[in-house]
């Protein structure tokens, strides 16, 4: 039996791995991917397991790889995806890998520290340059030479009268520096408070963003210049600057010295720039070397770590120097597992083979489905509702048809469906190419994952589009309509809407439109009313069919698991309930379609009203001379309307159906729990009896073996 119908048959296996071959064997099993290991030491701490050192080494390697990866990202170098899947390297290669990573990391760190120092230097010099430029401008604005600006500041700081008397006597000092822009308000406030308003602060923004030496982020800063008077204030201002991590720069007093310094700084900056470029180049070379390899490295380390995690789940048998693993594996894959094991042993060079040994267990095995690229998406849709128990019927098989079909019933448009089909087909045809260009776009990945389903949905929509005769919401007239109105020209000109009577205007010779809806409905005024009623009935039939299928599958499960209780207390009442109410409704739909012709359309029942009235037990009876035949009935005579009973003994039949359905409810709800409870109690009683007997048997030196036997039989 194909494993799409049920989950694969599983078997619990014990594997004796020779300790020297364990690593390669697990590696091979991992590549195979058909084995689920059981944790045999669930109570052991993560750090007390056997291979904890190896795992810590892997952690360390991963950390280094992450560091390298981060550096690569920082330089905007994209890691090429070669699609390679390297095997886990042998344990002894781990040392080589570690050494390589260690070398690269230390090299990178060294380059980075150098570059950082250089960049810091660069930052400081460019800040100094800005400070010099700004102060130069500032002093220039306020007149030639330093003294006028000092006078200006003096006027601002010292009271007017005092200024006139002692202006020349007071000597103002100043400091200049750079501070991050966001700190300016707090800085300004604190300066004002701490110096009691006795300083004069000028701030100017540096327009160009500077580069943070560590992270490389853009930082925005301001140049400030503070004037103050006296040594104490100077000390205080300096402390505040230090507290705010503002960098102070020496700024000469005279304009000439400043411009000289500016020139010096500019040349140094240029020199530094060349050195910086060289460091960048070196760094780039180091990174470029890693770029080709890093993807493989990451995969390799991940695999090594996974292997050791798996080995940590095994028991260690000291006497045989072997590891004992327990695992679940599909019975059909046992041969592959054996092969992988022997291949692993061969690779390790060990002479003693690893032994696989099937175990018998009462544990419920895990559910496993073999899927391929086509069934995978259907299986995952089913899994989103819940995973079937071991060996239960797998609904995914039916979903392959029902899901796209039910979608199409709702979508139902030939044109749009065809576009969708083409999109799905494109993805399926280009599968390999699209798969290799991995995308991070979640929405695209969702579409691509569901490419087969999209294709099928499109295809089914084309079909339902034909049935509904809908192509881009227009009808196609392919076979010619079966309606032939024979109204005269003047009548057509004068009247806006005309009624087509099926008795006279429908072509009974050619019969109905061969496939789908007659295109004449496109032109009719009651198109929506008609198609709504048609589609609603269709949906009810399909929906109830789907439910019936589900209930039937449960019967298959009950039979497979030999569970008669479930058949009698679940399946039978369920099916009776379903058929009594909804099955009956479906029957009525077909009945109405089949029997009511144009001659008795006035008697055609409204099924919705009838179905509601069924639960209300309210019935409208026709006149006595109504014979429930569809011939030229005269409603006035027979008294039949849309709500009147339309077949003989309808009221009795419906009352019986409702009662039958209602009766099923207590059966579904109550019987099973009581049966289960009774069984459970019986089991407990039996266990108690056995214990009592075995105890008394021990006491009486097994005097009553007969009794024990009897109870065992009971």
């Amino acid at each position: 039996m194909g494993s799409v119908f049920r989950s694969a048959e599983m078997s619990l296996c014990q594997i004796f791995l020779q300790s020297e071959a364990a690593y390669t064997c697990v590696s091979e099993l991992g590549e195979l991917g058909l084995v689920q290991f059981k944790d045999l030491n669930p109570d052991v701490n993560a750090f007390q397991r056997k291979f904890v050192n190896e795992i810590l080494r892997c952690d360390e390697m991963e950390r280094k790889l992450r560091y390298i990866d981060k550096e690569l990202k920082k330089d905007d170098m994209k890691i090429p995806d070669t699609g390679e899947n390297p095997k886990a390297p042998a344990p002894k290669e781990m040392v080589d890998l570690e050494a390589t990573f260690e070398k690269i990391e230390s090299e990178l760190r060294e380059v980075n520290t150098n570059a950082e120092a250089l960049r810091r230097n660069y930052l400081e010099l460019s800040e100094l340059k800005e400070v010099l430029k700004k102060t130069q401008n500032f002093f220039a604005e306020h007149g030639e030479g330093h003294h006028t600006i000092v006078d200006d500041a003096q006027n601002a700081l010292v009271h007017d009268e005092m200024a006139t008397t002692s202006a020349t006597a007071v000597q103002l000092g100043f400091v200049a520096g750079v501070i991050p822009r966001e700190k300016v308000p707090a800085f300004e406030r604190l300066l004002w408070f701490a110096c009691r308003g006795n300083v004069f602060l000028r701030i100017d923004e540096i327009a160009k963003p500077l580069e943070d030496p560590v992270t490389g982020d853009a930082i925005f800063k301001c140049v400030f210049i503070i004037f103050f008077q006296g040594e104490q204030l100077k000390l205080r201002v300096r402390k505040i600057c230090e507290g705010f991590r503002a960098t102070l720069y020496p700024c000469p007093e005279s304009s000439q010295e400043r411009s000289e310094m500016l020139n010096g700084v500019s040349t140094r900056l240029e020199d530094l720039n060349t050195v910086l470029h060289q460091t960048e180049d070196h760094r780039h070379r180091v990174l470029a070397n890693c770029l080709k390899e890093i993807r493989n490295w990451i995969i390799k380390v991940k695999k090594i770590k996974a292997i050791y995690h798996t080995l940590n789940m095994c028991n260690f048998d000291v006497s045989h120097n072997s590891l004992i693993a327990e695992c679940w594996t599909p019975v059909s894959a046992l041969e592959n597992v054996q092969q992988a094991l022997s291949h692993g042993t061969e690779l390790s060079g060990s002479t003693v083979p690893s032994i696989l040994h099937r175990m018998h267990t009462k544990e419920t095995p895990p559910t496993f489905f073999h899927t391929n690229k086509f069934t995978k998406v259907f299986q995952s849709i089913v899994h989103s509702y819940g995973i079937a128990s071991y060996q239960e019927v797998n609904p995914a098989l039916y979903t392959i048809i029902t899901f796209p079909f039910l979608f199409a019933v709702m979508f139902g448009d030939l044109g749009h469906g065809f576009i969708m089909f083409l999109f799905g087909l494109w993805m399926v045809v280009m599968e390999k190419k699209l798969m290799s260009s991995k995308s991070d776009n979640e929405i695209w990945n969702m579409f691509f994952g569901g490419r087969y389903i999209i294709m099928l949905m499109g295809l089914f929509s084309v079909y339902t589009g034909f049935i509904y005769n809908d192509a881009f919401s227009k009808s196609l007239n392919m076979f010619g309509s079966s309606w032939h109105p024979n109204y005269s020209e003047p009548l057509l000109d004068s009247v806006e809407t005309l009624v087509l009577d099926p008795e006279y205007e429908f072509d009974n010779v050619t019969g109905p439109y061969p496939f789908g809806l007659d295109p004449i409905w496109q032109a009719s005024k009651n198109k929506i009313t008609f198609t709504n009623s048609f589609k609603m009935k269709l949906s009810v039939i399909l929906g109830i069919g789907q439910m019936l299928l589900g209930v039937m599958l449960s019967l298959v499960n009950h039979i497979y698991f030999r569970n008669p209780l479930n058949i009698f207390t679940e399946f039978i009442p369920e099916i009776v309930f379903l058929l009594c109410l909804f099955g009956y409704l479906v029957g009525l739909i077909f009945f109405k379609w089949a029997t009511f012709t144009v001659h008795c359309s006035t008697c055609a029942p409204s099924l919705l009203i009838h179905f509601i009235n069924m639960f209300l037990f309210s019935y409208t009876m026709p006149n006595d001379n109504f014979n429930y035949q569809c011939d030229h009935t005269n409603p006035k005579l027979t008294g039949c309307k849309a709500t009147t009973v339309f077949y003989r003994y309808q009221n009795y039949a419906q009352i019986a159906l409702v009662l039958g359905a209602v009766l099923c409810i207590p059966i579904m709800l109550c019987i099973k729990p009581f049966v289960l409870r009774a069984r459970h109690n019986r089991k407990i009683r039996r266990a108690d009896n056995l214990q009592a007997v075995s105890q008394s048997a021990l006491i009486h030196h097994e005097e009553y073996p007969e009794e024990v036997k009897q109870i065992l039989i009971f």
């Binding site: 750090f47 795992i55 810590l56 360390e60 560091y67 604190l190 230090e242």
Partner: protein
């Protein structure tokens, strides 16, 4: 807010309360501690913490680990979580969370001032500050011309802070007031007890000491006046005897092996109170409790790491379990 704040609580703060309860569920359990104390090295500790809510918080640190790195990372994690809460919140929760940070700010300032009083350079002190209480002007504190005066002023500030926080929570009413008032009363009383006990044998006069008592605890006013008169530990204990809840704390305190210090007893009591804060819903106490519990957890992890790092296992069990 109207007469029933609980009805509208979730509109503004429901998401954050859910978040903080989620964070709380990540606090280490007794079983985790049992595993942690078995660690041989700090790397073992890292390995075990990986399997808890801490996840990969140490993954990017090169081996060998040091205790200070663990400490930094623990604090960093708490701060990230707290900042997230603070960034998402609305008034009055915003003020409430700010109140929580104020105490850390005051602690930082005290640390910096004490450092400057002992002539330590500020750069050495900054890394020791709790990141939750760092603020821009903090580093400029050493411009104070009279650090000693400032130091005294700070103690008054701390009292004012406690009393302010208390009245803020009291005004909030409802479950917030119930939970927070109890917590802050405890905090105030703890300070009063500790200050009194620590003042014995120093030159602090009784009048000055009385000024340092926060007046929002259960001890106020009678207990505080008794404490102000106390001369030795036994008299403090006699004061505690009058208050149910504090009497039990002083029992079993001693210096013998197996006994706990008074400080630990207070921490235990605090943990108990904070755990109870999660019993009620629709209040801010849970945020305060979370920060306090997390702080205690950090202390526990650091304690265990220190014991592991120094191979001094005798006292490794004297952490304070939370759940």
């Amino acid at each position: 807010m109207g007469s029933m704040p609980e009805m509208y609580f979730n509109i503004d703060h429901g998401y954050l309360e859910g978040l903080v309860r989620g964070f709380k569920a990540g606090i280490l359990k007794q079983g985790d501690y049992l595993n942690l104390v078995q660690c041989e090295t700090l790397d073992d500790l890292k390995l075990h913490l990986q399997s808890t809510d801490y996840g990969n918080f140490l993954a990017n640190e090169p081996s060998p680990l040091s205790v200070s790195v663990i400490d930094d990372k623990l604090k960093e994690k708490l701060v990230i979580e707290f900042q997230h809460l603070r960034n998402q919140c609305l008034e009055p929760l915003a003020s409430f969370l700010d109140f929580i940070t104020y105490s850390y700010m005051i602690d930082n300032i005290i640390l910096l001032i004490t450092g400057t009083l002992h002539q330590r350079p500020i750069n050495e002190l900054i890394p020791k500050c709790h990141p939750l209480g760092s603020f821009e002007q903090m580093e400029a504190i050493h411009i104070a011309s009279t650090p000693a005066e400032l130091y005294n002023a700070l103690h008054t500030l701390l009292i004012a802070y406690l009393e302010d926080f208390y009245s803020f929570c009291n005004e909030m009413g409802g479950a917030t007031a119930d939970v927070m008032c109890e917590a802050l009363q405890f905090e105030a009383d703890r300070r009063a007890f500790i200050i009194t006990i620590n003042s014995f044998g120093t030159e602090l006069s009784k009048e000055d000491r009385a000024k340092l008592y926060p007046r929002c605890g259960r001890l106020y006013p009678d207990g505080l006046s008794l404490l102000a008169k106390a001369d030795d530990y036994d008299q403090v204990r006699a004061v505690a005897d009058c208050y149910g809840g504090y009497r039990e704390l002083f029992e079993g305190v001693g210096t013998n092996p197996g006994d706990k210090t008074l400080e630990d007893r207070f921490f235990e009591q605090e943990v108990k109170l904070m755990k109870n804060a999660f019993m009620q819903q629709y209040h801010f106490g849970a945020f305060y409790a979370y920060v306090k519990l997390k702080e205690q957890e950090n202390r526990n992890i650091i304690w265990i790491s220190e014991c592991v790092a120094q191979r001094h296992r005798a006292k490794i069990d004297s952490y304070i379990p939370i759940f």
